[in-house]
């Protein structure tokens, strides 16, 4: 069943359709939250995102644009969480990897994930949306509230940073 049909049925009040929508999109939502935050916070933020989605769903006017709308909500929830924590921890954590659990980091370090988690938030976000969530440049621009040209330049910078980080990691592996 298409997302648009599921959204319309959920807006009508069919709980089964809403559950189906959660099943279909929980993975991408969690992956986005996880790439921006650590695993524990990803669970909390994913729940916040789904609560906001359920509350906002009756007002969604374009069911065909569910994915960008969903990630706009997800981005807001992640940004709020990061802002809250940066407020507490001051700006000293800026640019550090989000994962601070050494065991967890050790598990992931071998792959792309660790390099990704080391990127600054702005570049990481656009990489996750474009490559992992498979959204178009236009959708990324809508979600991040920036022009498509800015998304392209962030993508280009993010790719460069990622390449540099992977090159740094390579001799150690």
């Amino acid at each position: 069943m298409t997302d648009e049909l599921l959204v319309v049925r959920a807006q009508l009040g069919e709980r089964g359709a809403l559950a189906e929508l959660v099943r279909a999109w929980h993975g991408p939502v969690w992956t986005y939250a996880r790439r921006m935050l650590d695993a524990q916070r990803a669970d909390d933020v994913a729940q916040e995102i789904w609560l906001a989605v359920v509350r906002g769903l009756p007002r969604l006017r374009e069911p065909g644009r569910f994915a960008p709308w969903l990630f706009t909500i997800a981005r807001r929830a992640v940004t709020d969480r990061l802002r809250e924590e940066y407020g507490r921890a001051e700006a000293s954590r800026e640019g550090e990897p989000v994962m601070d659990d050494p065991a967890e980091a050790a598990v992931d370090r071998a792959g792309l994930v660790a390099a990704l988690s080391g990127l600054p938030v702005v570049e990481r976000e656009v990489l996750v949306l474009f490559y992992l969530e498979d959204l178009s440049v236009e959708d990324c621009a809508e979600i991040c509230r920036v022009p498509p040209g800015t998304v392209k330049s962030r993508l280009s910078r993010a790719r460069r940073l990622l390449r540099d980080r992977l090159a740094e990691e390579e001799p150690r592996l």
């Binding site: 069943m1 298409t2 648009e4 049909l5 319309v8 049925r9 959920a10 807006q11 009508l12 009040g13 709980r15 809403l18 559950a19 959660v22 099943r23 929980h26 993975g27 969690w30 992956t31 996880r34 695993a39 990803a42 669970d43 994913a46 729940q47 789904w50 609560l51 359920v54 509350r55 906002g56 769903l57 009756p58 069911p63 598990v107 992931d108 994930v113």
Partner: protein, 160 residues
Amino acid sequence: MNDDERRMPAEEMIGRLTPVLSPRVRVRAVTALLSGLAGAAFVATLWASEPGPLPGRTRVAFGLFIVLGLAWACYGGWLITRRAPLFARDRVIAAWLAVAASGATTALMAAVAVQRGTGLGAALAGGSGFVALALVLAVRARARHRHLLRQRDRLSRERG
């Protein structure tokens, strides 16, 4: 353990959303909103149609009842906007309940005003305002519901 294995299962997330989707919460929200508004309007009519000046304590009691009714209405409104959203079908049902509740309250207010021989005009004016508002909400909710039904049918046909 990789990330996918660490992820909270979708079924658990659906379980966590259950309280928000509970029909009981929605019924409670709509009941609190409508009964609070109707109660406040009814007490206000009683107060306004009193033939003579009331003692201080009675005025305080009337005032408290109105505040209580409005507090229940605010609670219902808060539930609907923040805790238990109304989907298209719920909105149609809630709007028709609002029409029925505002009609009944208007009739009651008018009956009290007639019995006391004062305040009929104010009761009818206030009551018909509520009825008109409820009707507008009902018509809009019905139109939105029909629009979504048409959209669902079209998408189902396209899917084959």
